[in-house]
Amino acid sequence: MIIGLEHYLILGAILFCIGFFIALSKKNAIGVLIGVELMLNAVNLTLVAFSRFSTTEIALSTQVFVVFIIAVAAAEVAVGLALALVVYRNRQTISVDRTTLLKG
């Protein structure tokens, strides 16, 4: 068996779904953030796989795209964690169930 594009795509899909499930189901805001990171990684994996196996000129563009995604993910985590910190400070909890009030 040759390991080809499909293997990576399915791996990416599984990773994406796990991340999706975590993001949907976790109570803790940081847990949700972890799920989102997993989803982004799954997408990155898929993109890099396309870059490796594609013969068209997207081979390079996808990698550039991955670089951008990683940069944006870093920014997102920084802001997300700062938000979690503020929510914690205001509500003494970072459980997403209990921070339903969109105020103060």
Binding site: R89, N90, Q92
Partner: protein, 386 residues
């Protein structure tokens, strides 16, 4: 507007957190009793907000040996070895202070040669003790033992001289009521001369290594500052007091053992921070060497011990005698009821009383500053706890 109970509780918690200091939780850290920087079994309970000291409370007593009680059961002469163990880094000074108090109680005149020998050993002890204090202080600033070991070399030579004279290095038990236990051995004076010849070069080396060290300046300048008013009010003494600029030295203010014959000067600092304390100690070592040179040059002949009965029974009364020990004002308060043993034996421990202002010195600084401050006060736990 309706708020559920859940939200209400959460809000209550938030208010508590916000009013108790921005929501960050203070951390209580125990420095000691077993800690590399407490110089013995001494415990400092520090409350930290991040790295900032919010509260510092000391817990002592781990080395309490109840000396003051024990001394009430022993004769005046038998108590001399106890004094060695009070401040084991300056045993000679403690011997001296106790003997002065007992002599005051008994009304004994000490021969001139014994006086000179006492001054000699008290100053040698000061050199040794300051070497240790400065070395460990630099260690507390984070140096990796190098200055400490260099200074230990000097201390080692002093201890060799002690051993030469009285057979002991640390707990000397050398002073006696009315003089000293033994006359000087023949080889002591040449050794001391060599020591005095070598020390200026060594001190120059330390000054070259340490005084212009930018990191040491950054660590010790402006740290653990105390004002002269506060220092006096807190009964601080010794280099800690003099670093604030107060020129109070019992050798000048209340001369004992003929200190008035010797020419020396009292170095004082300017700001009362850790670095000033360090500098004052460095300068005091030089002054001590100066005194030692004068003692050696004019050592009187004669008896080294006055004629004192072994079981002296002083008249009922009290005496408070004090000396300038390396750590500050070391006093002994003796009360006699006419018996062979002191009715009350009290030691005024400079290490303990110098800690009075430790909390004030370390509040608002970082944990590292508190350690440096503690190191600069130069405590000996044996003296704190007794």
């Amino acid at each position: 507007m309706t708020t559920s109970d859940d939200t209400r509780l959460a809000m209550q918690g938030t208010i508590e957190a916000l009013t108790s200091g921005g929501g960050s939780e203070p951390v209580v850290v125990n420095l000691g009793p077993q800690h590399p920087s407490t110089h013995g079994v001494f415990r400092l309970k520090v409350t930290l907000d991040g790295e900032i000291v919010q509260d510092a409370e000391m817990r002592i007593g781990y080395l309490h040996r109840s000396m003051e009680k024990l001394a009430e059961e022993r004769t005046y002469t038998q108590n001399i070895p106890f004094t060695d163990r009070i401040d084991y880094l300056a045993a000679m000074s403690n011997n001296l202070a106790y003997c002065l108090a007992a002599e005051e109680l008994l009304g004994i005149e000490v021969p001139a040669r014994a006086q000179a020998i006492r001054v000699m050993f008290a100053e040698l002890q000061r050199v040794a003790s300051h070497a240790m204090a400065n070395g460990t202080f630099i260690n507390d600033c984070g140096a990796w033992h190098t200055p400490l070991f260099h200074m230990f070399r000097d201390r080692e030579r002093v201890l060799d001289m002690f051993e030469m004279t009285c057979g002991a290095r640390l707990t000397t038990n050398y002073m006696r009521i009315g003089g000293v236990a033994f006359d000087l051995p023949d080889e002591l004076l040449p050794t001391l001369e060599r020591f005095l010849d070598d020390m200026p070069e060594n001190i120059a080396n330390y000054e070259a290594l340490l005084l212009e060290n930018e990191i040491l300046h950054a660590r010790a300048r402006g740290v653990g500052v105390i004002s002269p008013e506060m220092a006096i009010n807190s009964s601080l003494s010794g280099p800690v007091l003099r670093a604030t600029g107060v020129p109070w030295d019992l050798r000048k203010a209340s001369p004992y053992c003929g200190y008035e014959q010797y020419e020396f000067d009292v170095p004082v600092g300017e700001r009362g921070d850790c670095f000033d304390r360090f500098l004052v100690r460095m300068a005091e070592v030089k002054q001590s060497l100066h005194i030692l040179r004068q003692v050696v040059d004019a050592l009187p002949e004669g008896p080294y011990l006055a004629d004192v009965p072994l079981h002296a029974r002083p008249e009922p009364g009290e005496a408070y005698a004090r000396v300038e020990s390396p750590r500050g004002e070391l006093g002994f308060y003796l009360v006699s009821d006419g018996g062979p043993a002191p009715y009350r034996f009290h030691c005024r421990p400079p290490s303990l009383i110098n800690l009075s202002a430790l909390k004030e010195m370390s509040l608002g600084g970082t944990l590292a500053d508190a350690i440096v401050t503690l190191g600069s006060i130069d405590i000996v736990v044996g003296e704190i706890d007794r």
